[in-house]
Symmetry: C2
Subunit: 252 residues, 2 copies
């Protein structure tokens, strides 16, 4: 992520506010902050080393992105993710990512060399005796980002990264079975081929399959483990505040 939003509407504020925003966002996305947890302005300000003002701006920004829940005069808490949220987000991603991929195939603006290199690195990291899943995740994000940027529709990239982000995806690959992981890699290779062929239909189809496959993995995992695993609560301290019923919602 550059210091400026892709389209250049530059929602980055001053240094302190921007720093606070990234810190808090990173903590939420990484699962360091569990769903439902209260984010106190004072505490965050002290831990980040700035005053409350930039922290407030960061929290507002995160609220606009839907990562935190704002409640007037009460504070903000980390958003909790239900099965319904997951379905909403993947439903939209399965629409937008293929669209971006289709556009990228028609513009031919994608850097195929870079994409190929990422895939190689990714496979290397995934197939090692001790797979480096964090590295895989990072490369995967970059891969998707590069394609969506190549679509030429800057708002599309903004939408996906700002409004359709879920903490879970950070640990997505730790939930993939070996075969699912291999299929994901195969999808990536096929995507590059489709882009090279400049075949919009092909590219779109592969990407749609790719997203749906990921969706399936998440759904299965979510069903088994419940929301608390998804929000990172179960990966936290042994004793955490009462889970606040995050309620498994009947799928949409």
């Amino acid at each position: 992520m550059g210091n400026v939003s892709p389209r250049g509407h530059a929602s980055d504020a001053g240094q302190a506010a921007e720093h606070a925003y990234r810190c808090i966002r990173e903590q939420i996305l990484s699962g360091e902050r569990s769903g439902g947890e209260w984010l106190r302005e004072d505490g965050l300000a002290e831990s980040i080393g700035v005053s409350r003002t930039p922290v407030r701006e960061a929290l507002r920004h995160l609220a606009a992105e839907g990562l935190v829940l704002y409640q007037r005069n009460r504070g903000v808490q980390v958003q909790t993710w239900t099965m319904s949220d997951l379905n909403e987000i993947y439903g939209l991603r399965s629409l937008l990512e293929p669209y971006g991929c289709r556009l990228a195939a028609t513009t031919g603006r994608a850097d195929l060399e870079a994409l190929s290199a990422m895939n190689s690195d990714m496979e290397h990291a995934a197939n090692a005796t001790q797979p480096d899943l964090d590295r895989v995740t990072e490369l995967n994000n970059d891969f998707h980002r590069l394609i969506i940027d190549a679509s030429g529709n800057a708002r599309l990239g903004d939408l996906v990264t700002s409004n359709l982000q879920v903490p879970l995806v950070r640990h997505t690959f730790s939930r993939y079975s070996r075969s699912s992981l291999q299929r994901s890699m195969a999808h990536h290779r096929e995507l590059v081929d489709a882009l090279r062929a400049e075949d919009p239909d092909w590219a779109e189809s592969v990407m749609r399959s790719h997203v749906h496959a990921a969706w399936s993995v998440m759904r299965r995992y979510f069903d088994k483990s419940g929301p608390e695993a998804a929000t990172g609560q179960s990966l936290e301290s042994p004793n955490q505040p009462p889970p606040e019923e995050a309620a498994a919602v009947p799928g949409s």
Copy 2:
């Protein structure tokens, strides 16, 4: 617009901040503030009657939505809209709105009575000897909003209203020819029928046609008049004769 965002992530802040946000947003969307215009915190604060702090928060929010351009230590200015922006936004709307409409047809959660009533009102307002285009615009927005809300995907509505808004659409109907306006009304009636039939393909198709038709009108107008008209600069004059250029819009 309720005082709470549809999904309930409640990005509404305190009274002053929320009020400032709505004031400024309204000024931008209505075209009262022209593209490129600088928005000074101090001036806005005084005109709204609050201090700079809530104004700053409002501006940050608007920056996240892409309505204003933030530049560090320099200030914010109203976003300028190019043909490319228009295409990006309508490209995404032509994807998301039909999707929402499809979902609404499957959930059957749409209030068909209300939609029908809106259509009647809309036609009445449009067919009067002196068409009330502001009223038509308002009803049209409500109509689309209701459908997208009925999709059951709350994020979808958020995305469209928060990230895919353009000042132009406020005056969209003043740019419609009589025949285009009639077609738009016909689309609306057909949409209700498709929803009543609970036919996802039909509903999706009609909505896609509907958005593409609007896109075409905007593109044509934009080409002729240039961006400065789109940002509201040229609409300041007291007398606004409905252009009524008899443009036979090429069907999608």
